[in-house]
Subunit: 125 residues, 2 copies
DNA sequence: ATTATTGTATTAGGCTCTTAATACAATAAT
DNA sequence: ATTATTGTATTAAGAGCCTAATACAATAAT
């Protein structure tokens, strides 16, 4: 599991996204315990403070909760997790369509281009 | 024409994207003269230095060129402009499919969701 | 009781981005 | 020739992000 952090955007924001991605895809299952802040920080090669900041945000969003000295856990509310996943996808779609729109492409044209790009991928393999 | 600058990403990078968008969509036609740095800076509500930085990048990319005291102009090479447009679209698609992939969606599912989202848009109107 | 592990808070410093205020350089317009 | 307009460069200051180094607080494990 790579963290793939870029320097063109705040790191803590990228950490939030990556952890959220791991939650909604089941890498960190509902109810499971997360690695400790310090462990996660080492794994992602960031400062514990930065990781802490990201985790605090996810807690604020209700995807994580803390048990003082046992550690942090993914929420047991699977409904909340599915909702987060759908929101993430909807957001990606909305932003994609909007960006393609400003370039002058309709959703239909966008879907056509996705098909084409996929066909090209097929040839590569 | 709005600039829509966000605070979660370097402003100069957003300026590059917006000006590039205006070039490839013909808002700033091939060969035409751009407003002066200071004018653009006022229009976008940013510091002239920041706008200068964005323009220098676009010049480096070959989409603009400078005539010392007459101003800056969009390249006359329409081929270069079309290429830039296609690159921008391809990049958006690649990143979109990649992000949807990390969420567990295939390109087919992504296209399905685009369709659905579009149908919902229809209902709203 | 003691120890280790957990989350959390604080302080200092460096880095990049952004703004602000100038100044300079070149040339088109007058 | 003079003036105005163009791009460009410089310096200083402030804000946000990140790291580093600590220290503290709570509790599970021993």
């Amino acid at each position: 599991m790579a963290w793939n952090l870029q320097s063109d955007r705040p790191i803590y924001a990228q950490l939030v996204e990556e952890i959220q991605r791991r939650i909604v895809t089941g890498v960190y299952p509902a109810g499971s315990r997360l690695p400790a802040v310090r462990e996660l920080a080492v794994e992602a090669s960031v400062n514990p403070n930065t990781m802490q900041r990201a985790l605090a945000k996810l807690e604020e969003d209700g995807l994580l909760y803390t048990q003082r000295t046992s550690g942090r856990f993914v929420t047991e509310e699977t409904e909340r997790i599915m909702q987060a996943k759908e929101e993430m996808a909807a957001d990606l779609i909305r932003r994609f369509i909007e960006s393609m729109g400003t370039l002058g492409y309709t959703s239909e044209q966008a879907m056509e281009l996705i098909k084409k790009q996929k066909e090209e991928e097929q040839c590569k393999i």
